[in-house]
Symmetry: C2
Subunit: 313 residues, 2 copies
């Protein structure tokens, strides 16, 4: 059994094993799991008036390597989606996990990947309620797509489009060097932190937010463009992960930290309150939002570009 390939087992046996694993890990019947194994998951209605729905995927040789520990692959696949829920001020509820897998991939590896995914979902307060499997033409190829629904913590979702001139620009945690330090696999999505931010009074509450997946150098320009504003960044203020340069903090990507803007009134009270609640996690004001003056915001150097002709792809 150890070392069996997907081809050895066949689809039904694999799916049955995954289902057993899910029921074992989540309990049965696990809310909101109903009718696992039917063509669609049937979900109890959320109590809020708006629902979040998100999909994401990670691919071998792009987001992880063939020798990456499979539990960490599953964990990363789920936590990337949870990080997006956090960025909106939301809480994840149900997840669907699709795996695309070459015929020579071992069943052990896939099940271990699900273990990691289930553990991450549990920590994040979400349930895996179904999914799909498909073959890939590359015999050892592997990709995972996660789709999730969730609810808002507060009344309003945090959007990219709410930044105003005069706002400060803030980031949680440290930036850069995510691959070398393993952070891109071991990060914790900032769900609790975002939930706390979403309950702040309006005078210091974030005006715009997103998560840092492609690096501050790419993501801040996107937030500014969505808000129709420009920005300045104080490079000396950037919180650097161990071993990271300013350039790497701007360019590396996969930080999975929160990037947000907040009214000037938030300084310094926001950071003081934050430090009381989350003393282990830095919160840093790294710049300011300025008016656009009709010009395209100046883009900082670097950041992760999925399809660039040079650099990581």
């Amino acid at each position: 059994m150890a070392g069996d390939t997907v081809a050895d087992w066949g689809e039904d046996r694999l799916v049955a094993a995954i289902r057993r694993l899910i029921e074992q890990e989540q309990g049965k019947p696990a809310p909101p799991t109903i009718h696992l194994g039917d063509d669609c998951a049937v979900l109890p209605m959320a109590k809020t008036a708006q629902q979040l729905h998100k999909t994401d995927c990670i691919v071998q040789d792009v987001h992880f390597l063939p020798d990456t520990e499979p539990e960490l692959i599953g964990r990363k696949a789920v936590n990337r989606v949870l990080s997006d829920f956090a960025a909106m001020g939301g809480a994840p509820q149900s997840l669907l996990m699709t795996i695309l897998v070459g015929r020579d991939v071992s069943v052990d590896r896939i099940l271990a990947m699900y273990q990691g995914a289930l553990a991450a979902a549990h920590v994040g307060g979400a349930y895996i309620v179904g999914g799909e499997t498909s073959s890939l033409p590359s015999p050892n190829g592997l990709a995972i797509s996660i789709s999730g629904t969730g609810r808002l913590i507060g009344e309003q979702a945090f959007l990219r489009s709410g930044a105003q001139p005069g706002d400060g620009v803030w980031v949680t945690g440290d930036l850069g060097n995510s691959f070398e330090t393993g952070w891109h696999l071991s990060f914790q999505p900032r769900l609790q932190e975002a939930a706390w931010l979403s309950q702040l009074p309006p005078d210091i509450r974030p005006t715009a937010m997103m998560d840092l997946s492609d690096g501050l150098g790419q993501d801040l320009p996107r937030l500014a463009a969505a808000s129709g504003v420009a920005y300045t960044v104080d490079e000396a203020s950037l919180p650097l992960r161990e071993g990271a340069s300013v350039q790497r903090a701007l360019a590396d990507g996969e930080d999975y930290e929160l990037l947000f803007t907040a009214p000037a009134a938030a300084e310094p009270s926001l950071a003081e309150q934050w430090n009381d609640v989350f003393p282990q996690i830095p919160l840093t004001r790294v710049g300011a939002i300025i008016s656009n003056d009709g010009e395209t915001p100046v883009s900082m150097a670097g950041g992760f570009e999925h399809f660039a002709n040079s650099g990581r792809t």
Copy 2:
């Protein structure tokens, strides 16, 4: 511009082009599209007490070929998910579309694929509300994952687990030869037909339902196993697509027809009523549900096995 690759354009330009296309095709603001471009789609609440959530994917060289017309690829990706909504007695509402794409794939091809996806969503009454892009290590690789949410038409979802001894086994449409005839690309998901079935009175209403994606020879055993029953199939009764043998009708897969069981009382009134409403689409009783007697149901030969050691993979 024509012939540009994904690498030529970069991610932001590609995403902006896709977003323009979506807004152009669906109108703006298109319900339920809110905040396209943020980390999650924000959806207005459905009015029903249960929601459907489904994910699926199609992969080049598995579900389509490098020279498949891109509009048909997008169409197939969406319609496979819509077929699953139909199978549950549901109506799709919002879709997220994730593309995994190698750097040398042309932008024209991707946008044409989105055109096909948007057209299929429109016909099915659904909206594409967001998505994700990722690179693939294979330079010409392509895969599409679609995630959807939807609502139920009737009070109860059709499940695989409701079949009872004495029920008839029914299929819509014709079976087999899906690849050779192009049906696997051009099929119409049976949404209207399933909605009609879901509103039938209990004495003739389907007791279990699924869509035929891996062939009757694999899918009927799955339905029977979920219901704890066995079955008989009258091979002479199978509705054959042009050029298909009985063996192909059992084994080919990708029929995207409805497979359901219904009480004995449904015969012959169900077929008569069906023919009045859907005169162009065959409805055929192909077998019966029998008691299991504690034995594993006998599996028919064939059907599509994603990871089989022989045959199509």
